[in-house]
């Protein structure tokens, strides 16, 4: 048998949840970033899958969106990591539990 769209979607859902797990359960800021990146990758997988399985897959819309989202994810990662470094310089920690200056 060849995998159906369902299967691919479930895979991407699993990937997404893994990312969510990383983002939610870890204390280190970089883990959160990694999780977010993984979620983005899952989203891209969805795009590609929907494009591939859609009946009129001649127009490469999904692929385009995937490409653009990858580019944007790269930018986001760069800025995010820069933020992590800056925060580390300032507070000498990257533990997000201690970074609660915005506490109401």
């Amino acid at each position: 048998m060849t995998p159906t769209l369902q299967v691919v979607l479930i895979v991407s859902a699993a990937l997404f949840s893994a990312g969510l797990l990383a983002a939610l359960s870890r204390r280190h800021a970089i883990f959160i970033l990694i999780g977010i990146e993984m979620m983005l990758a899952a989203a891209n997988l969805n795009f590609i899958a929907f494009w591939r399985f859609s009946p009129q897959s001649q127009s490469p819309t999904g692929v385009m969106i995937a490409i653009f989202s990858i580019a944007i994810a790269a930018a986001e990662a760069a800025v995010g990591l820069a933020l992590v470094i800056a925060v580390y310089r300032h507070y000498r920690t990257t533990n997000v539990d201690h970074l609660d200056q915005l506490k109401g």
Binding site: T4, L5, R27, G35, M38, V63, I67, A71
Partner: protein
Amino acid sequence: MSSAAFVLITVLTLAAALAAATLQKLMHATLSFALTLVGVAALFFLLGAEFVGLVLVFVYIGAVAVLIVFTILLTRRDVGKDRGSNWGGAFLAVAVFGGLTWAILKTQSVAIVAPHIRALTVKRIGEALMTSYVWPLQCVGLLLTAALIGALVLVMEEKR
């Protein structure tokens, strides 16, 4: 699309993803994250989007992973001690996974196999990028430039 390869790659990817989410050593987590992305790229290959797969590897392994690694290095004093994980988040993630899976299985319209399409060549992608997607392309270029400058400014050593 050969299902064997698909299964293989899927297993690899998900295992790597879980590892990335749960490994104690940050460095190992990062490396398995890179592995995850390789797997995703392979999935893209299988789905007939070679170009995107290559771009993914290119961007994530070549750039993002290295960036993360650098960051880890620069914030090294803090890396070693990673206090465990909170189970609330884990539970939530699992719940989300369950909900998603349930929803996907529930929707019948996605239970379809891939139609046969002619391979998406890089040429076509390039043409599409340069014709109907040229405006978004410019915007992304601008965004990347802005991100570059912003990151530089953020990490610049404040002069003393």
